[in-house]
Symmetry: C3
Subunit: 131 residues, 3 copies
Amino acid sequence: MPHWTALVTVLAVLFYFYTSTRVPAARRKYGVPVPAISGNPDFERVFRVQANTLEWMPIFLPLLWLFAYYISDIWAAVLGFVWIGGRALYMVAYSEAANKRGPGFGIQAAACVALLIGALIGIILSLVHGG
Amino acid sequence: MPHWTALVTVLAVLFYFYTSTRVPAARRKYGVPVPAISGNPDFERVFRVQANTLEWMPIFLPLLWLFAYYISDIWAAVLGFVWIGGRALYMVAYSEAANKRGPGFGIQAAACVALLIGALIGIILSLVHGG
Amino acid sequence: MPHWTALVTVLAVLFYFYTSTRVPAARRKYGVPVPAISGNPDFERVFRVQANTLEWMPIFLPLLWLFAYYISDIWAAVLGFVWIGGRALYMVAYSEAANKRGPGFGIQAAACVALLIGALIGIILSLVHGG
């Protein structure tokens, strides 16, 4: 079992959960009652941070675990931490203004590309060598 | 392989799928054609039940399986059943009125907190003991 | 490790990611700036393709891997490829018109039903036989 990857998975889930808790707080702050999800740009940016993090979970988690299995537990965890860091930067910047969300988004996307390439190489080598 | 956890995973996926099937039914009932996702509060609550269940799947499933591996298959499955039960209560109550969604939401969140604490303890013990 | 299932998982993640990249492109094309997610039906259909693919990821991926473990790696991968094919057809057709989205949606749903039935049979047999 890749314990470090398991740990970073729990941390990623906690981070994602944190982005969710910001939505009801933004509802109160900007006066957008449930079930509405639009009507105020400040609210919508906080909502989009949560939605975008959700949208990347099924990219990040499968690639993270495939990388951990095929390449390395430790390196999967390192890339997982980079992903969380990029996500945190994206969250802070996007909450301030839509046009500030680029750098954090790029960091987390780069971490996923690295996980993807590693996983794909590992899978193909295993298929070729009949492992 | 934790068979009971596998079984509760299939049931959770089926329950989540059921919340999805209620969305097109609510579209017809309340006259909200695709691709709109707003315009009628009754429709929006049914839509939010599905969306919120989706939002919790990447919290619930990873924690469920980490708990199953590090702690116990049977207890993971028990907490998984509690999660589905809380989700079902949330679905019924939120469909009636937005301010009735609290208890079911609390139950499913408590199940996830229990899964989280167990998984985290298990992971940390394994890392400390080099297991 | 079910290598073919791992490969189809990476392909499914890449396909899902591709549906996401179409959203900012559609924002520019149809003049719908972030963080808005409504306002133009052509944009909304592209957005809904991405959203619906996201909504099916927590159905598809768990069933795919349970099927791979309990039944067969190769057959899981075959059904996974069918799922991606149905999703691609759904994407192309729904982007053209909302009422064209049926066939692709049906194909990918049928693949998931096959994964579900196989996984459920495998799990129940393992529980009964104490495997």
